[in-house]
């Protein structure tokens, strides 16, 4: 049973456009929701994260929107750039010292020049 589901599976966006990646989770005990970014040949790196006490978090061109009732959260990349082309993973976990992240399957974003 997949606890964290990402959509779409791949995404192609023109430079300057908005990239939107969605994630749905099943476990209502989850209370930490990060997005990781992975470039080819590199390991994933934390991009931005949110906790359910807020509905939105923005860092530069990257925004997480969180909908607790729908059990969904999404990553928005404004003014997408070719350098944003990467694989993006959403994840979820319960808070706490010994919790562990459950990752989605990942989505490949290509930003065309």
């Amino acid at each position: 049973q997949q606890q964290v589901k990402q959509s779409p599976q791949s995404l192609i966006v023109q430079k300057g456009g908005i990239s939107i990646i969605n994630c749905a989770y099943e476990n209502t005990a989850f209370d930490y929701f990060p997005w990781y970014q992975q470039f080819p040949g590199k390991g994933p790196a934390l991009l931005i994260a949110i906790r359910p006490d807020v509905s939105e978090k923005k860092e530069g061109r990257f925004t997480i929107s969180f909908n607790k009732s729908a059990k969904q959260f999404s990553l928005h990349i404004m003014d997408s750039q070719p350098g944003d082309s990467a694989t993006y993973f959403c994840a979820a976990s319960m808070d706490g010292a010994n919790s562990k992240l459950t990752f989605g399957k990942g989505i490949t974003l290509s930003v065309r020049p």
Binding site: K42, P44, A45, A49, F89, F103
Partner: protein
């Protein structure tokens, strides 16, 4: 700059061989993890460790074991490699307490089993 180092970036092994994947972190992190990354399957947790000499099974531990004799080092062992273990292996670490969910990943070890 904090680092998780995986000593082997590319390995080619034969079926039945014993394989060691080594991971070292220099951040004095309590927690260490081994993930496997396959196209279309995302990141799947193999084993993790919250302390020295301590290990816990993740979601796909079959065919793998781990060793954590020192805080900074976490090894993944394939006792008898099989072709279905051809994959990218990612090591990660995190601090304890409130930082436990913030993972720092290594660059990965790509293993091919022939």
């Amino acid at each position: 700059d904090v680092k998780v180092t995986q000593s082997s970036r590319y390995l080619v092994k034969r079926t039945g061989e014993k394989v060691f994947l080594e991971c070292v972190q220099d951040m004095d992190h309590e927690n260490m993890f081994w993930y496997r990354q396959d196209p279309g399957l995302g990141l799947r947790l193999i084993y993790f460790s919250y302390d020295v000499k301590m290990k816990e099974k993740g979601d796909i531990p079959e065919g793998y074991s781990v060793s954590r004799e020192k805080k900074e080092r976490f090894s993944l062992i394939l006792e008898s490699a099989s072709t279905n273990q051809t994959s990218m292996y990612l090591c990660a670490s995190s601090s304890g307490g409130s930082g436990a969910n913030v993972l720092t990943f290594g660059a990965g070890s790509r293993l091919t089993v022939l």
